[in-house]
Symmetry: C2
Subunit: 115 residues, 2 copies
DNA sequence: TTAACGTATGAGTATTTGTTCATATGTTTA
DNA sequence: TAAACATATGAACAAATACTCATACGTTAA
């Protein structure tokens, strides 16, 4: 079983100098997706259960349209997937990285608060 | 030695339901900091060596003022630290989480590109 | 103290971004 | 097919953001 802690350091060590602009841009775009409270709430809502768009709207107390717009962004970045069930669309977290990126964000914040 | 992979999952499991708004906002604010190409470049510049503000400006080919503004944001979020050496300020990465968050962002992007 | 250097910061501006509103698309039921 | 339901999407607007310019602050050397 792989340990991501070491893996993380390995991967950065292998980068020689500055990564190229396209890669940097892709990576910062990915983090930008996590950098919004609404999208963060959606990810957490989906963490426990997959949900329909309306269910998410109700859960967050926001308009369906706003949620749909944000779900598109999450999907374009491969952070959520969806499938149709009759009239409704079910969304779910798509990737293990979502958990790990979120968790490390939380750890950093927790440490800040404990200081 | 702790394995962050498991740790990450543990930490999310312990969150019961939706984290409170303040925490969610703090976390998304943290990711927002990573969600900018200039700040990402600064972090990479500092990855290999600590550097002065002017050195970073030269390295990225950007104005000193722009870099200073971004360094302030990075420092306010405890991602970099600094110390004075005579007239110059030396900036450095301050936290192990920086490496890990960056690395996981890269992993996610790499996987996307390999598909 | 004054001048020079390195950095920080406030104001102004252009761009990006998240939401709402209206409406289009797609699916099921009558 | 028409109506009802669920979701997606484009336009418009307000708020946030990143850069530039000008200038202030802090340190060192003359």
């Amino acid at each position: 079983m792989k340990c991501d802690h070491d893996h993380a350091k390995d991967m950065l060590k292998h980068l020689d100098g500055m990564p190229d602009d396209v890669l940097l841009c892709d990576v910062s775009d990915l983090f930008k997706v996590f950098g919004d409270t609404t999208r963060m709430k959606i990810l957490f809502a989906l963490y426990k259960n997959e949900m329909s768009v309306n269910a998410i709207s109700d859960c967050l107390g926001m308009q369906q349209s706003a949620i749909s717009h944000q779900l598109k962004i999450l999907k374009d970045n491969n952070l959520v997937g969806n499938r149709r069930e009759g009239k409704t669309m079910i969304y779910f977290l798509s990737d293990d990285h979502v958990y790990q990126i979120l968790a490390q964000g939380f750890e950093h914040i927790m440490e800040e608060h404990d200081l």
